[in-house]
């Protein structure tokens, strides 16, 4: 019997690194090497103004981009208001606002 617990589990899926084109991802890393120091803690997402109103999740988006999964990323990043709270909280001191702008600029309407 299907019971609604108020949460769901993501569908299982495979990220095929052989099939994904990492060129754009590498471009982004090359222009912002500090992204490599991300530990995926999610402080950016926890503090996010847009995340408070929508499902926008910068940690997730950033991780997807790093793996070459670009579909929908640009639209997702356009939810960001660039308010900069994430930058103040990032334990690695990543310039997250510049990261958002760089990823948007590199991916465009991918």
């Amino acid at each position: 019997m299907a019971t609604n617990f108020g949460f769901s589990i993501s569908k299982p899926r495979v990220i095929d690194m052989d099939a994904n084109n990492l060129r754009k991802s590498d471009d982004i890393l090359a222009s912002m090497p500090q992204l490599q120091s991300c530990i995926g803690c999610g402080a950016c997402t926890a503090s996010c103004t847009a995340g408070n109103l929508t499902s926008f999740n910068f940690r997730k988006v950033h991780t997807l981009v790093r793996r070459g999964e670009y579909t929908g990323v640009y639209e997702e990043l356009n939810k960001c208001m660039l308010c900069g709270k994430c930058r103040l909280l990032c334990p690695r001191g990543i310039n997250t606002r510049a990261a958002v702008m760089t990823i948007k600029r590199t991916l465009g309407d991918f």
Binding site: N78, L88, A98
Partner: protein, 594 residues
């Protein structure tokens, strides 16, 4: 009689310069938006025109505001500008006195010493006056040379690095007055006459050179003087010296209330070309003094934009703290120009963007007074609870706009050049404020305050920073505070609040109601930036810390027990580099309520 072949380079140069300038100014004025043209039509027959003339005398000729930076530097600019102007003006009077009503062509005025040898009358007093003026200008040229060697002596840590066009024009300019001295001295040596300076130099030349040699160099020295003048005139519109004339229309247009807007207009040309590249902005820049970033300061930004080769690293490497704008002797609207440059680089209009704002309203409470915390205040909850305490103590009914999350004010996007996106936030927030019928809007974030004031149309709603609001509560006796002289505070002026919004005294009077206020080394208009400015997306974390540490050092040097600021972002930035207590203004008020 007022013609000799050596005048040709001068005449050609002057004509080319005149045509270039006319073409530029006329096309810039023609391209102005309709609203701006209407402003000109309205202002031209008002007192604004008279005020402009007075300002031109003060700033374009005398350079009063540079005297305030450094007297010697002011003298240098004044002697070159005002001195040259007097040479032309008095020279004009001189020829008029000599020739009466007879029409004298341009070169007749400029090279009058040459042609005067053919006139029988001689009025020696003019020789002396003109020599004194020439000496005045030459002293400025000498100082300019000296400044290249030792800029510190003229109060400048660094001077501008010039482009090729500037160097060419500069070389011509530096030669003009020495060349004039030589030409007039040789004339005095050959024909006699001359004032105290040219006669003395001429006398020295007579001693060292034979009469034949003097005769031989007589024409060439006048050719040389004419050539450097002509060369300078041709190079001028393509160099920084374009500012000499452009500042004049700029002053008129500015007094007619033309402004730099969020998208670039033809008025920007007048602003851009009025920069004299004096480099006073370089020393004001903390990116230079703390981080050693060169080539990004306002003078270089304007240079790049003028040459159409502005790059993102230059446009975006700026804290927009406004210190350079505060010091700019020409009063160029540096921040606004940088912003509308950014808007051409990052602005991607997209109608679908931020569709999720629709129906969002997480506000609570009701009252005529609204409180907008802003993103940054939500990240410094002490400020938020302090405001709650203050509102309660004053018995104020408050509508909380975004205590449970809300939409950003839009300034961060605007600072990053995404003007269209920012305007979506403006629309949303205006609608939200109107729907809840507030008459006063209080915010504890100067970043929000600035955009509310400048980019929002909130007629009928009074905008207050919380420092102003608290000051008003104290004045009205709605809250009372415990005062203790042994409590000492130092106050950091946030850029967006101080230079950005002109609010300096309210936070100070609130602090003085609680304890003693000790000013740090840089305060009011000269206060430093905390380094965390949202305007800069180039500098990294370590660099932000460096800027913040320098500020902390100054604040701690006051010996005050508590550091106070009135911006949540400054508080966050300072909190990272100080071991002392750092409080928002509202916190010290809330904890000292009676």
């Amino acid at each position: 009689m007022f013609y000799a072949h050596f005048c040709i380079p001068f005449i050609v140069g002057a004509v080319i310069m005149l045509l270039t300038l006319l073409y530029r100014y006329i096309s810039w004025v023609v391209e102005l938006p309709k609203g701006d043209k209407r402003l000109i039509a309205k202002g031209i027959f008002s007192t604004a025109t008279l005020r402009s003339v007075w300002e031109i005398i003060r700033e374009s000729l005398l350079h009063i505001s540079i005297f305030r930076v450094n007297p010697l530097l002011g003298y240098m600019h004044c002697s070159l500008a005002f001195g040259w102007f007097l040479l032309i003006a008095v020279g004009w009077i001189e020829t008029t006195v000599y020739m009466g009503a007879e029409l004298v062509p341009l070169q007749g005025h400029v090279f009058f010493r040459y042609f005067a040898t053919q006139i029988d009358t001689h009025i020696p007093i003019f020789d002396h006056i003109m020599d004194a003026l020439l000496l005045f200008v030459l002293s400025g040229v000498a100082l300019a040379w000296f400044k290249r060697l030792r800029s510190k002596a003229l109060g400048m840590r660094r001077t501008t690095k010039h482009s090729v066009g500037d160097r060419i024009a500069l070389s011509f300019l530096w030669f003009i007055f020495p060349a004039r001295l030589v030409a007039e001295s040789v004339t005095a040596a050959v024909y006699g006459g001359g004032g105290f300076l040219t006669a003395a130099v001429g006398g020295a030349l007579q001693h060292t050179l034979s009469a034949g040699a003097l005769e031989a160099i007589y024409e060439p020295v006048w050719w040389f003087y004419s050539a450097v003048l002509g060369g300078f005139f041709i190079a001028m519109p393509h160099s920084r010296y374009m500012h000499i004339f452009t500042e004049i229309p700029l002053i008129f247009l500015r007094n007619y209330r033309l402004r730099v807007t969020q998208s670039s207009t033809s008025y920007d040309n007048f602003q851009l070309q009025s920069c004299s590249r004096c480099g006073i902005c370089i020393d004001a820049c903390q990116l230079q003094s703390e981080l050693g970033h060169n080539g990004v300061q306002s003078v270089y930004f304007l240079r790049d934009r003028r040459a159409n080769r502005l790059t993102m690293p230059v446009a975006f490497d700026c804290l927009m703290c406004g210190k350079c704008q505060e010091r700019c002797p020409v009063g160029i609207d540096l921040n606004a120009l940088r912003l509308n440059s950014r808007a051409t680089m990052r602005n991607l209009p997209n109608e679908r963007r931020y569709g999720y704002f629709k129906g969002v309203d997480r506000s609570e409470g009701s009252g005529k007074v609204g409180y907008f915390a802003g993103c940054m205040t939500l990240l410094t909850p002490h400020t938020l609870t302090a405001m709650q305490t203050i509102f309660d103590a004053a018995g104020e009914e408050v509508w909380w706009a975004d205590r449970n999350g809300g939409v950003c004010c839009g300034r961060p996007l605007r600072l990053s050049g995404e003007t269209d996106s920012a305007n979506k936030m403006v629309e949303y927030n205006i609608e939200l404020f109107r729907r809840h019928g507030i008459t006063t809007l209080v915010t504890s974030c100067p970043i929000c305050l600035k955009t509310f004031r400048e980019d929002y149309n909130l007629e009928g709603i009074e905008l207050l920073h919380h420092s102003q609001y608290i000051e008003r509560l104290i004045e009205q006796g709605r809250i009372s505070l415990k005062h203790a002289d042994n409590q000492s505070f130092t106050y950091h002026d946030p850029c967006e609040l101080g230079r950005g919004s002109g609010i300096y005294e309210p936070p100070r009077s609130v602090i003085k109601a609680i304890g003693t206020l000790i000013e740090p080394k840089h305060h009011h208009r000269n206060s430093l930036c905390c380094g965390s400015s949202l305007a800069n997306t180039i500098i990294n974390d370590a660099e932000q810390l460096k800027i913040s540490a320098a500020l902390t050092l100054e604040l701690e040097a006051t010996g005050a027990t508590t550091l106070v600021t009135a911006c949540p972002l400054c508080k966050k930035a300072l909190g990272r580099t100080t071991a002392q207590k750092i409080k928002d203004l509202s916190e010290i008020v809330a904890s000292n309520l009676n």
